[in-house]
Symmetry: C2
Subunit: 184 residues, 2 copies
């Protein structure tokens, strides 16, 4: 890897002490894992790599990945757990037992106040086909591609209301670059 960061105040070169670091996963709390697993495995085609139960603390963790054809997932459980923690792009869902039975329970999506976390994002090979697929599955939109200033970007909601951005990478090559109307 010879790429050097784009220049910006604050940016520093990667220290040798960080060699081998991997941005492994993002964790979101979910109210009902049956609903969330159905959504992420069907609508986004993820697989459940590992479920980890912590009965003493009354929670379970679900590690999901969207695999590609070259991923070699170990079948043996311990090796698979280690593999899961060494990959990029894992989604961890945390279920605190019992929330699914509380009618008025809901997690906070981070986009209303107080703000913080914004969204996760899936890249897709074909945005038009992906939108049809999401529509076929009754997925709720925050913003359809044709709405707003960013025409090649969609946002949908997962079952807890967390936002998921949908992009087709090559359609966004000019995003944020000077354009006639600065609308990108």
């Amino acid at each position: 890897m010879t790429f050097t960061s784009e220049p910006h105040p604050g940016v520093r070169p990667p220290p040798a002490a960080t060699d081998g670091f991997v941005l492994n996963h993002t964790m979101l709390r979910v109210k009902d894992p049956v609903v969330s697993l159905g959504f992420y495995t069907h609508v986004f085609g993820m697989v459940l790599l590992r479920k980890l139960d912590f009965p003493e603390m009354r929670f379970s963790l679900f590690f999901l990945a969207k695999l590609n054809d070259t991923d070699q997932v170990p079948e043996e459980t311990g090796a698979r757990t280690g593999w899961t923690f060494s990959q990029r792009g894992i989604l961890e869902l945390t279920h605190n037992w019992g929330t699914e039975d509380q009618a008025d329970f809901a997690y906070h999506d981070g986009n209303t106040q107080p703000q913080g976390f914004g969204h996760i994002c899936f890249a897709v090979p074909d945005l038009v086909k992906a939108v049809k697929w999401l529509d076929d599955n009754g997925v709720e939109y925050v913003k359809r591609p044709e709405q707003g200033k960013m025409k090649n970007v969609a946002f949908v909601k997962d079952p807890d209301g967390y936002w998921i951005e949908i992009v087709q990478p090559e359609l966004n090559a000019n995003l944020g670059q000077p354009s006639p109307d600065q609308a990108c």
Copy 2:
């Protein structure tokens, strides 16, 4: 890829319509990008792949990756933007202009009420060395590895207070598996 999801209610097989989907990035809002870029590029060795400015809407986006030796990052800006959107494990930081000048401004980390987002996680090759590196850089801990029930896991805070989990994958091969004290 021949791996089949672990069985659990809700889990379904990946549909062909999701072929090529990639879990690309996680977006977090940050108060001061100079501080956050210094933190993520130095402490975690990430590189700034792209900065995208949206002056009309008064925000900027920063796309960061922890690269490995085999990553081939295109030098040309448009190609690099497309590449960025096609990878796994990208961190997107959003800066709404002006927040860095507001003394009492802070984002919500998702772990106090209202809860939602939990953390991001870096895998590291050597947890002991990583902890020394984090200590050398004065990083604030939520939980050191020796604290709490999960002895091989640490949590630190980024400059906005977002939690970052630190794991050494092979130390967690038995996590969540039956153990004598169920403490995992």
